[in-house]
Structure formats: C-alpha cells, structure tokens
Symmetry: C2
Subunit: 546 residues, 2 copies
C-alpha cells in the first residue's frame, strides 16, 4: 500500500463529518436500522406487539368483521405522507384497529370459499427469517446458497410430476444450462411464462431470421408461413390466459375457448375438430392448455387425451395445475392427473395446496432447455454461463421464497401432503352428502376434488326444483336469492362461501346458475364447521325476502 492511501485509511473522515446523531430524524432512523442486536430492542418491542396482533387474528373463528366498505373507504383516504417518522407504537395500534381488524381471516375454519387456508406453523418464523436474509433470487451475487436450494426444491417437484431417472436429475438439478422450473410470484406469471416459452420455441431463429424474440410476432408468422397464432383450451381456463393472449400481442380472440361438458372437462371432440381447423387454416397453435383444477369448480381435464391430441398436432401441451397439481402427492387421487407427465409445461401454485404463503407460483418444463427461448443477459448482472436464476424468467428481482418452498417439501413430506389432499377431498364429500340430504340446498354437481358447487332453494320453489321443472323466471329468482344470501353471509362475517356463475350444469337446468362455491382445503375445518357454515346460510336465508 502506498503511504498516501495509508494516510487516507488512517484518517476517519475526509471532508464531511458523519451525520450528527443528535438530530432528531437521523437519530430515529438510525435507531430503526441498528436495533436488531440489542436487548429489549425496538425490533423486539415491535415483535411482541405484532405477535399479540397475530395471535388474536389467527384465533378468530369468524371469517371477517362486518364493517361496511363505505367506512373503509373513509378510513383510508389520506394521501399525505407524514413529514416526520410516526411513533411506532401508535402506528401498530392503528394498523391493528384499522387494517388487521378488518382483514379477512383466510385461515378461519369457516372461511371455506377461496383458495386460501391456515398455514403450518413453520411458515411464519421462516418468513421472518427470509425477510431478515433479504436475498434477491435474481442472481448468485445476491442469493448464493439460496439459488441452489431453489433449484433443488424445483427439481423435487419436477421429479414428482415427471418421474425421470436418477441420471436425468443428476444431470440437470444444478446445471446452469438447464431449467427444470421457474419460481414466480403466482400462477398467472407461471402461465404467461409457459406460453411465452412455447411461442418463442415455436418461432425461433431460422434461415437468417432471428426469431420472434428479436423480430416480433408479425415477422415470425410471416417467415414461418402461418396466417396467425392461437392458444386453445377449455372455456374454464383461468383469466390469466386472457392476460397472456393480450400481453403477447395475440389478442384475446386468439384464445380459443372450447366448451366443457357437465364435468367441467373440455369437450375432446370439439377440441380435436378445432385443432384440425386451425391447422387447415395454417394457424400456429402455440399451445393446447389442459386445466387441472378449474378455478370455479375444481374440474380436471382429460389430460391423457389432450396430451395425445397435442402430440399428434406437434404442439406444446401446457397444464395449468395451479390448484390441483398437489394431487400428485395422493396415491388415492393422483390418477386424476394421469397424463400430466406428458405436459411440456406445468403450472403449480405453492400458495394454494402446498400450504405456503401468498407469493409462490411455479412453472415446470419437460424439456430442461425450453426456457432458453426467453433467456436474457445484462452486463451488470446475469452473465451468460452463470447460475443466475434471473436469466430465464419474466420477473427480475424477487424474494427468497424458495426457503419456504424447500421447507414445505421437507417438513410436510410426501405423506404429509397426501394427508392434506385426502382430507380436503374427504371433507368435500362429507359436505356434498350433507347438502344432498338437506332440502334447503341443491347440490349442483358431484365434486371432482375439493371444490363444491351448490345453491340454496327458497322453500316455495323446492318442489319444482326436485321435479326438474323450473322455468327461466324460477331460476332468476333462485339466482337473485343466492346472490343476496352470499353477500349477506359475507357481510355478517361469521362464515364465508364464495359464489360463481355456472352454465351447462348436469341438473336439467339450461339457465346460467348463481352457485355457492365452497373450497375445502383448510386442515382446521372440521365437520362441525361445515355444518355451522350451512346452518348460517339457512338462518340468513330465513330473513331474506325477494
């Protein structure tokens, strides 16, 4: 070292002094950043308060408070950032009274209307650890071990889906040229990523043409001699496919939605016919989509048959198993997903039936090199040949959710997930049997997995419903009644069932039906809870006059 640099290193301040900590704001802010390793630190004090808030929240049986939305609109109407730091204790009190108190008890055993659930107890401490680590999974330089941990977790699920050989996983699990899966924020980004890969792979570089990635969709279709490009699936495909078709420049009209049968499965004959027509019209079929767990009813497409159709048409086969993917853990029910192992790509959500917190979606690839079709680089990060996970991904910077995914797979294990899946289906069958036996309700379809559609029938219409003689007007009355019932139950907040609109039901009913939609995935939900929710509906219905 030279003497001049030594001089600088010895001198502790060059031309401006360190901030004066007696300054009020500076002192407060620096305390916020330095308190973590002190006894009775600010963080420990906050932690004690938020722990109390969490315990109250998690112990509540009601699904939500009965506050009116109008009150909430008023409560959150201040667009001014405070000039000075707010007192932490009073802010936590405010959050407790205004946000937490009126949030949804997604873990409540009587909140059985959406795809949220109670979470296992390791999730909260690990989420805090993940936040303490604050890794950025985009690249090795900000997520060293976690990058490899993430690849391992994704390989575990890939193996569960595809069951390739030991040799395959040895080769690809930590190979920087391979992508067995991508961890994303949720199923929507997973579906979009899958279709993006499929499109770019179908329209890659060729004879001097640099591919759709570089030259765009119109030029690519032109070079390849297609008249257009489509995505084909059932009319129960998730709305993320609309987003994908829009975003990717295809237009939603290019998303062909084939009618489903009364079991919520795509009509295979119509699918075959559509594929033939598209090929006759020289349209590129970017992908055929199979749905494994429709959002509105949990129906699973005939994946084996769709795989055959896709293979015959030499087309990418994507399975949206965001919801039902974890059925692969159940020896008893995994037959429902037969054919998923033939999919070129598969979406599974961690924050649904892997019982992990919100913000974990995944897409898996049969061909470990497919995702190269979307690879990007940047000189300040994500270098070619590196292990940087952000090279092949829609998202850039993202949190270390892999820690939770890895923990879920290890701590719950195959048998644990099997138990959770089987339990959900068992309770759904129980609820279906209850509804079937109760004159107040009409079961709209036998449940395929753990979603259940039914409706309440006002007393004066029960006879015509039983005889399958309802008119369009009867149906409208019942629809209006159920909409009102669902909204009232939601507003009161003791329990919760969602609602959807179904056409094409196997109940001799040709009209669109407003259906109650139960989702049974919460391990805390008991048979008594199910009865209590139905009981709530009967009591509320008695007071509805339409």
């Amino acid at each position: 070292m030279t003497s001049s640099s030594q001089e600088i290193l010895n001198k502790n301040s060059l031309f401006e002094s360190e901030p004066a900590l007696h300054d009020d704001v500076a002192g407060q802010i620096m305390q916020m950043f330095t308190s973590f390793n002190q006894v009775n630190s600010l963080e420990q004090q906050i932690d004690a308060i938020t722990e109390n808030i969490s315990q109250v929240f998690l112990s509540t049986i009601d699904s939500n408070s009965n506050i009116d939305l109008d009150f909430l609109l008023e409560k959150f109407s201040d667009s001014q950032i405070p000039i000075h730091p707010t007192n932490v204790e009073s802010y936590l009190q405010y959050i407790s009274n205004n946000v937490v108190a009126h949030s949804i008890h997604t873990s409540s055993p009587r909140f059985i209307g959406h795809m949220t659930s109670a979470l296992p107890s390791f999730v909260r401490p690990l989420a805090k650890l993940m936040t303490a680590m604050n890794q950025n999974a985009v690249k090795i330089e900000t997520a060293k071990a976690l990058s490899f941990c993430e690849r391992e977790a994704l390989a575990m699920l890939h193996r569960q889906i595809y069951s390739f050989s030991d040799g395959f996983y040895d080769q690809h699990i930590q190979n920087n040229l391979s992508t067995l899966g991508i961890l994303v924020s949720g199923g929507t980004v997973a579906n979009i990523t899958a279709l993006w890969c499929a499109r770019n792979a179908a329209l890659g570089p060729k004879d001097g043409f640099l591919g759709v990635e570089q030259e765009g969709l119109a030029a690519a279709l032109d070079v390849y001699g297609y008249t257009g490009a489509v995505i084909i699936g059932s009319d129960l495909m998730h709305y993320s496919f609309d987003k994908a078709a829009d975003l990717m420049g295809l237009g939603i009209h290019s998303l062909i939605r084939i009618p489903t049968d009364c079991h919520n499965r795509v009509n295979l004959q119509l699918l075959r016919q559509t594929v033939t027509e598209c090929r006759q019209q020289n349209l590129l079929i970017i992908a055929i989509v199979g749905v494994a767990g429709t959002t509105d009813s949990g129906g699973v497409d005939a994946l084996e048959e769709i795989a055959e159709i896709a293979q015959a048409a030499n087309t990418h086969f994507h399975v949206d198993a965001a919801w039902s993917g974890p059925l692969i853990f159940s020896e008893k029910y995994r037959y429902k997903l037969a054919g998923i192992e033939k999919a070129d790509s598969v979406t599974i959500d961690g924050h649904k039936q892997l019982y992990l917190p919100m913000g974990i979606g995944m897409v898996f690839f049969r061909d470990p090199y497919l995702a190269s079709a979307i690879e990007k680089q940047a000189s300040y990060t994500m270098r070619k040949g590196s292990f940087d996970l952000g090279k092949r991904a829609l998202e850039g910077s993202r949190p270390g959710m892999a820690l939770l995914l890895h923990a879920g797979l290890k701590l719950i294990g195959l048998k644990g997930y099997e138990f959770l899946i089987n339990e959900g289906i068992r309770k759904t069958q129980y609820m279906a049997a209850c509804i079937d036996a109760m004159p107040e309700f009409e079961l709209l379809a036998e449940p395929d997995t753990n979603l259940l559609l039914y409706r309440y029938i006002p007393e004066h219409l029960r006879e015509v419903v039983a005889k399958k003689q309802i008119t369009k007007i009867d149906n409208q009355i019942i629809n209006k009644f159920n909409e009102s019932l669902q909204k009232t139950q939601r507003q009161i907040g003791n329990s919760f069932i969602s609602r959807t609109i179904k056409k094409n039901l196997n109940s001799g009913n040709e009209f669109p039906v407003v259906a109650m939609r139960a989702v049974l995935a919460n391990p805390l939900t008991t048979e008594a809870d199910i009865l209590a929710v139905l009981h709530d509906q009967i009591q509320i219905a008695a007071k509805i006059t339409i």
Copy 2:
C-alpha cells in the same frame, strides 16, 4: 329449519369419521396447523431457533462465506421429497448450516455492490404479521381492509410524484374506476405493465375494431395504419425492456436504444431525430422511456426534455425510476428528477430505496383511467364495479405487501427518507473523494447519485493512465485485473463490490472498461467501512499476478 336438516346438524359425523389423530403423519401435520395459540408451542420453538439464526446473520460484517460454488452444487443435489415429515429441529439446523451460512449478507455494511441494504427493524415483525394474515390482494373477498390500505399507500407516493390537488386525490384515492398505481412484485413487472397499458391505450377500439387487446397487434397496427411499433429509450435501459418488447410480440429489434453521453443520459438530439424518423416511417411509438437511475451507474436522463419530446410526438412517456424514484423525498436532490411529474407512468421499487423487503415494485399513472386498457374480469372473482385490485394487473394472487409499504411511508416519513437518500449520496461523494486521492484507483466518472464507478490500476500502468495515454492492450490488462480482483474479493467474502462493463466513459478512454460498481444505500455503512472495502481491494490486488 326443517327437521331433517336439524338432524344432520345435530349429528357430528355423517358417513366417515374424522381423521384418527393417533396416525403418525396425521398427528404431526395437524400439530403443525394448530400449534399457534399454545404456550411453548411448536411455532414458538421454531421462532426461538430462527431468531437466533437471524441475529447471527444480521450481525455479520462479512459480505458472504468463502464457500466454493462447486461445494454448493453438491450440497443441493437431492431431488427426492422425503416420504415422511422431517424433524423440524434437525431441518432448521440443516438450513442454518447450508443455506443461511452461505447466503449473502445483503445487509452487511461492507456489501456495497448491489441494490440491497439493511432493512429497518419494523420490517421483520411486520413481514411475519403479513404472513400470519396471508391476505390475497387480488380481491376484496380475500383482502378487505388491506385493499383500501394499499390504495392509500399508492396514492401517497402518487402525490409525491405528481402533486395533484386535494380534490384530485379525494376523487381518486378510493374510486373503483381509478388506478393511481399498481403494486407488483418488482420493477420488471412494473415496466412491463406500463408498456402494456401504453400499447393498449394507443391501439384501443375504433370504428368497429375491438382494439389490440381483443384482436392482436398485427390487426391493430393494420387498422391504425402503422407499419410497425417501437419503444424508444437510452442504451442504458434496464433489460426488463427487452423482456417487455419480446413478451409483447414487438421483438427486441423494436426496442430502439439511443446512445448515451458520458453522464449516462440519453443523447437528446439523437432521440429527437429517431422520433422524427419513426414518425416519417409511420411507426407507432408505444412509449419513450426515461431512465431515472440507470442500473449500472445511477445516471438520470434529462426528464424535462424527454417529456417535451414525448408530448410533441403525442406519445406515452414512461419513467423507469425503480432505483432513483425516492430522490423525490430529498429537497436537496429532487431537482434531478425534474420532469418526472410529466410522465404518463412511473416505476418505483419499494425493495430498493424505500428500504422495504424484496418483492415490492410499483407503477404509477398520471391518468387514473389509463389502466382500464388492461382490465380483465372473471365470474368467480374480480367483478366489474368491484374494488378488487386484481382487475387491472399483470399478476393475479399476490401477497399483502401493501402492509409493509404503508408502514414504510408512515414510520419513516418524508424527512426519514430524505435523510436516507442524502446520506447515500454523501457517502458516495466521500468514497469518490477517497478514490480520487488514492493512486491505486481511477475514478471513472463523478457519481450522479449514489452509484460509483471506478477501477483499480496495476502499479506499472498508473503513469500511462494518469497521462491518458493507455493503449487498447493496456486497457485489456486493466480489465482482466479488475475482473480478477472483483471475483477474488467476492470469493473471500469480507467485503463486496460488483462490476459492470462501461463504454463511452469521459476519461479519454475509448475502450470498453471493466468497472467496479459501488452502490451506497445502506445506512449501516460508515466511512470506516468504505475505507475497509477499498483497503481489502488494495490488499487483494497486491497478490494478483496477471
């Protein structure tokens, strides 16, 4: 209630019994889900362990362990999900030894090479509370109060950017037709969303044509009479714009990257010329992008001038302020962002200079109705006219990160953020002065904000560098030396500086330069830390032989 349904309600089990809890797996899993409200519960035990792990991690000064990547590849090579649940304690030990120990200390005061930092102490407890609440921000039915809290937080930042009137915010802050901003997982999704809105708004429904959203890009350009569509910005635009151009079907060739000057700002004359040429060629300019904080050097484009160019061309003006957006909090430095208030959309990352954890990006809109161009609905959720936040968003289900954003704005406040921003810039100037005074280093450019580019000069080349007489070969030697220096420092792990490749530097050097890239945003970093990092480099350099 009818007697038959009463009978069912009284009976506690219909046809299959509740799971037998003495079953090993079932018992273990149920314990995981029910332990939260017990004294000395499983969760509390896990919490105590993870707290210890966190404290050790957060107290470490070193930037990372010196483990070789090859060891990590081996450590994470097991693709088998265990059959039975793993013992929690041994798993936490495993995570501590294998993942946490070899993760990056992004909060270390000597990790000054990437856009991560220490986080304020309220973040970790609130992240745990957020996980306990597990809201799904996609819709009111799974995020009641939090949806309004999110809108409020976004309005606060919108106001900070645009400074519209009280009346404007009264009208829009909680208006279900308005979108002041969208909370997303990160800046990449924010940028893509902004361009998606711009494209769809520019090519909306017209004369019976249903718009690009429905009919696709090729048809839309045709109907509107454009020969193509482009996005224009500087050559320092983030690589998320490549992703956007690719994903949206434009192709990366349609992303026009205009050269920057030696201050990392887009050359305005070339920009004007390009805009004129595009218009002459009848190309739709979907957006002109201004960068506020380039990823490689922190440079800020001349936003006022770009705003004028965009306005004259009647084109969407997007500002990617993912990094430098929070300069708006600083009275001293907000002049650097002058013109941002004229942007049609602005990206800001919460997980960068708002000191929030990974997973918080935002896009803001000048026109509260612009995001209607991407609105989607679904019958089981996200109904028209509702307050469901997922209606206008790329993502679907997503976590309640708004809780952390709201807390950051309230608990840190304007003055707190101002302090943090000013401190980062002050320390950067200090580091620049150190480097300037040390013969071992060459300062490559005066820092614009709080990113700093410099390089080490091997002793035998210092004289030619000082005289600005270096040859291409000299430069190659220096580049190789710096690459080796950066990699060695990273591997040893006491401290960390990233590296990038710069062309067009204002140092009389016409060759591409491998630059050391310091990012100074961590409040824990002292002047002594800065000197220690430079000292590390000098010591490592003494042992490098190239």
